[in-house]
């Protein structure tokens, strides 16, 4: 018998840790009142219209199907228009093991996406390699592309994937519309060798 039912110290995600929000310098005051308001409205709109591009390679892709299906229904978040064309999507959901052979493909897909774009690493394999600590598996996709949200689990339950989507929504909502033009963002991409 288990002593307790819940772990009451799950680590809450703090926006300050995110790649997108964290390297914004303090006192970035270039935006006036109007721009801030616009930013808010755009953020709100984007938040509710995140079209995912499922880069589903293995097990987690099956759980993504479950997330899409009637029981959990990703559509509630406005995200059911799944696209397989990187141009049209906002969120790259990397689900499943990314082997070293697949790495360049994934990178290419990321580069082809239109800004603003976000990346979610779903599951242990995509995030760190999981149990596949082997010669052929990439130990985390953050080695080749910047990742915004990591979802633990192998495979994560649909609830966990939805949780990840909501974390993405948090980022999207709080991101300034000008951010993608800043030097900080360019520096971030450059650190991954992406122009």
């Amino acid at each position: 018998m288990r002593p307790v039912k819940y772990n009451i110290h799950p680590k809450e995600a703090k926006l300050a840790d995110s790649l997108i929000v964290s390297e914004m310098p303090d006192g970035y005051t270039g935006e006036g009142f109007f721009a801030t308001k616009l930013s808010d409205v755009v953020g709100l709109a984007r938040k509710n219209s995140i079209w995912p591009m499922p880069f589903a390679t293995s097990c987690c892709g099956i759980e993504f199907m479950a997330t899409m299906a009637s029981h959990y229904d990703l559509a509630r978040f406005g995200s059911e228009r799944v696209g397989f064309s990187p141009r049209q999507c906002d969120l790259l959901m990397v689900m499943g093991t990314i082997a070293k052979k697949m790495g360049p493909v994934l990178r290419q897909v990321y580069i082809q996406m239109a800004e603003p774009r976000w990346v979610m690493a779903v599951g242990a394999c995509a995030s760190t390699g999981g149990i596949f600590d082997t010669y052929s598996v990439l130990q985390g996709i953050d080695q080749i592309i910047p990742v915004d949200v990591y979802v633990p689990g192998c495979a994560p339950r649909p609830e966990a994937i939805l949780d990840g989507v909501m974390r993405i929504q948090d980022i999207v909502q709080n991101e300034s519309i000008r951010r993608r033009n800043t030097d900080h963002y360019k520096a971030l991409l450059n650190s991954y060798g992406i122009e």
Binding site: S70, A75, R87, A114, E115
Partner: protein, 354 residues
């Protein structure tokens, strides 16, 4: 020509009408996208978008704003101007259709009798056919300019599909034209207001027309140009941002317009069923026009629902089967329908009673 001969009020009136109709079409198209998602969801036992605003009603606005603020990508090897022209053409062509559709009778404002139709031209049906064919150019140009093999294949499919099904569509329509004896949509509606709806005379013709309309709008089971499991969104695969939005919009406006055309041709247009419209005008005046507009809108909504219902139920054809159906089944059936109708019309002209 002097300025004095121009009826300025007429121009203002038409401009206002055009703006209203275009805005309304856009608005309806916006919410058709939402309706599609909701209908799909409800048919599939799930709630659908419900977190953006009350019941998710702000969902299309969110999509719109997002698309406007997304990066515009023109692929490196694409033909730049054609790439931009494609979605624009598709959008314009689909909006042009609404010029000839009679949305209602007429209203009397400021002592003027204003027809709720932008242009009551006497070749409205031909005009629609011409404009619809133009819409295909939007798809073709866009897909070709993308310099992507999937897009190219999609475009080839779209073009051949449009040609084959337009033929059957035209043939099935000729039967209606023979009955009504006019090419003006307004005139057709008037005839249907007085007599029975054309669907009663032309059930087979309507079925053929409906199937062709599905094909013209690239809706399942004829959505080969954008079959996502084969061609991965097909012709608009390389498009991002609002150019993509234009394509998606054009598709939904096409749907609305073909529903409106179907309603006008076969279901009495703005005719309110079981009510004598002339009497209605006499009793409540301008409000009757409003009721008529509501009537055609309801018909459109029903058609759109059926479009969606079909889309989320049945699988799509294969390319050769699609052609097979078009040329070997639809065209002969339409011809048959035309001949039978012609025969009956001929007999009627010669004094036979039915």
């Amino acid at each position: 020509m002097t300025f004095l001969t121009i009826d300025w009020l007429f121009i203002i009136e038409k401009l206002v009408l055009i703006i209203i109709i275009i805005l309304a079409s856009l608005g309806i198209a916006l919410y058709t996208t939402f309706a599609e998602r909701k209908v799909a969801a409800i048919l599939q036992d799930r709630p659908g978008p419900n977190r953006a605003g009350p019941f998710g009603l702000l969902q299309p606005l969110a999509d719109g704003v997002k698309m406007f603020t997304k990066e515009e990508i023109v692929p490196t090897h694409a033909s730049k101007w054609l790439f931009i022209l494609g979605p624009g053409l598709a959008m314009v062509a689909s909006l042009m259709t609404c010029a000839v559709i009679p949305w209602g009778g007429s209203v009397e404002l400021f002592d003027r009798k204003i027809d709720l139709q932008v242009a009551d031209i006497n070749i409205a049906v031909l005009y629609i056919f011409a404009v619809v064919s133009l819409g295909i150019y939007g798809i073709m140009i866009g897909g070709w300019a993308s310099n992507n093999k999937f897009s190219l294949m999609a475009v080839l499919r779209a073009a051949s599909q449009a040609i084959s099904y337009e033929l059957a569509m035209g043939l099935s329509l000729i039967a209606v034209l023979m009955i009504t004896g006019t090419l003006s949509l307004n005139e057709m509606v008037k005839q249907q207001q007085e007599g029975l709806w054309n669907i009663v005379y032309q059930p087979l013709g309507f079925l053929l027309f409906f199937i062709c309309a599905l094909a013209e709008c690239n809706r399942t089971p004829f959505d080969l140009p954008e079959a996502e499991s084969e061609l991965n969104f097909g012709y608009h695969q390389e498009y991002s941002s609002m150019k993509l939005g234009f394509y998606l919009f054009a598709e939904y406006i096409n749907m609305i317009m073909s529903s409106a055309v179907m309603a006008t041709l076969y279901f009495g247009g703005y005719d309110i069923p079981f009510v004598n419209d002339a009497n209605l005008y006499a009793s409540i005046g301008n409000w009757a026009a409003l009721l008529q507009v509501t009537s055609i809108l309801i018909k459109i909504v029903i058609f759109i629902f059926v479009f969606m219902w079909i889309r989320w139920t049945i699988p799509r054809f294969r390319y050769d089967q699609l052609m097979d159906l078009g040329w070997k089944k639809m065209v002969p059936l339409a011809l048959f329908n035309m001949l039978v109708t012609a025969f009956i019309v001929l007999l009627k002209h010669n004094g036979w009673k039915f």
